[in-house]
Symmetry: C2
């Protein structure tokens, strides 16, 4: 079907602002069915809004590879814990919409919580309603720090996939475990959707772009670069031949420990597909991952480790 | 899209035997994508094979409502308990295939366990792999008799839906709780697929058709009609004005208790959508449900109860 690409140009640059806004799954499905029915391929970028350059890089990649690009903005309550930042998560719909029109997004899906879940206070943790369980990979790292988080993520992504019916979906590598959880779910449940991971986009000093960076005070913003410095130092050690995972982890801890505003939650060397801890970096693809509280803000980051 | 119906006739009666056989999800998806891409609607009948008149009624209904009809035959290991009849479940592919060609089925999806799960011994109970949890409705009745059963059913049906990409899917009312589990899953996870329940087809003496009836000895086959007699008696009592659920349940128990070969597991009056037990039959749609072991064979049946 890739051969059908290029139709998009038929829209012409003057149609740039004609981005469709859909508020219910049924409306979204109808639009996607029409596009699919005429042989057009759909690229999908699910987001929680507060769009930054990291998101925009996903849209650019989606546009290169598909005839139509759909964005969703949905701050999903079921992936936030009771004491997390669901209520305060940045919501900037007007600005996000302008940015999406600028990058030439074809449709924006912005459902309410009720439109998605049929209730304004859905709960997938109690086991009352149907949901997706992500399996073993969801019980590591962020799954331990944020119980139920990946259950909520996988459930809403499955729902969004059913609403948007994409051929490909784009996720940032910044949330590396989430990317692997979604790839694993899509493969196991036969979604038939290609899950594309895209490189983390960073600020000039190396901090991974994240909507949550907006929470940081000036001091915290300074302190937060320790995460990237730690990852970089681990990758540099591996490049120089260090194979012992505990040595790399120690290095990451040492660097973060120099900054009192950074409370490290984990810093580990893991197998790149399953995220199981590695004792040494060998021929398997490996990743260094970190998570920390910087002030009250939860940040994650990761880096590919060079193979021997 | 219903307006597109009628294209099917273009195949002509001489093409009757040209039923496609697909063995992998990718092959199946490619066929369905082609049909959807030309505006044709797909009706889907998932089965475990050993087809009987009950199944064939689903195919006839599917053909009335869709341009293309897809069958699947897959004896799904993850919905059988460790001591259940996965190994002995009747497998009659050659005969099933002939029947499907006779009724004019367009495609038969017959994947191996490996093609579906990537392994010959999949396990969704351990929580290792991604799967679908069905929520509260799955923890009643059959969910108690067969722990993990509906988890396996919902997971494989979600996978089959992703492989077959149907507009509608057809399930028999004989497995009434399964029908409601699937309807609930499809609605909650936004599958965008209409789940159609079709009336139970019965033998001349009232026994609900089931592939498992083949297990019954002559004496057990005789005894098994008690289930339908019990359901009928309950419906008759309700028709005459009985409202107390315990009276209806007592009646069903009494009838089954006259037959030593029938070991009743449950006989209950339930709310028709949620399957929660009712204390009395009021204006809510209600259903009488039964399950029993007849010899070593597990049978279920149910009947609609008339409203006051």
């Amino acid at each position: 079907m890739r051969g059908q690409k290029g139709r998009k140009n038929a829209k012409g640059p003057t149609d740039r602002s004609a981005m469709l806004m859909l508020e219910t799954p049924k409306e979204m499905q109808a639009v996607s069915e029409t596009w699919r029915g005429s042989g057009q391929e759909i690229g999908f970028v699910p987001t929680m809004g507060a769009l930054h350059e990291g998101h925009l890089s996903l849209f650019r990649r989606a546009q290169e590879e598909s005839d139509r690009v759909v964005a969703s903005i949905f701050v999903n309550p079921t992936q936030f814990g009771a004491n997390e930042d669901f209520d305060t998560y940045p919501r900037r719909l007007r600005r996000d919409r302008e940015r999406l029109e600028e990058v030439g997004c074809d449709a924006l899906f912005v459902p309410s919580v009720e439109a998605m879940y049929g209730t304004s206070s859905p709960n997938v943790d109690s086991g009352e309603r149907p949901h997706v369980e992500v399996g073993r990979i969801g019980h590591l790292w962020e799954g331990l720090e944020r119980p139920g988080h990946f259950r909520g993520v996988a459930t809403v992504v499955a729902m969004l996939f059913h609403a948007v019916l994409p051929h490909r979906a784009y996720f940032g590598e910044k949330d590396y475990q989430q990317l692997k959880v979604i790839q694993n779910m899509a493969r196991s449940l036969l979604f038939g959707i290609e899950i594309v991971g895209c490189p983390t986009v960073r600020e000039s000093d190396g901090l991974a772009m994240s909507s949550r960076n907006a929470y940081l005070s000036e001091e915290e913003r300074e302190a937060a670069i320790k995460l990237y410095q730690a990852l970089n130092a681990a990758a540099e050690l591996a490049r120089k031949g260090a194979r012992d995972a505990s040595v790399l982890a120690r290095k990451m801890h040492d660097i973060c420990d120099t900054e009192p505003l950074v409370e490290l939650q984990y810093a580990a060397v893991v197998e790149a597909e399953t995220l199981t801890p590695l004792e040494c970096v060998d021929e398997h693809p490996a990743r260094a991952i970190v998570a920390a509280h910087v002030g009250t803000t939860h940040l994650v980051d990761n880096i590919e480790l060079p193979s021997p």
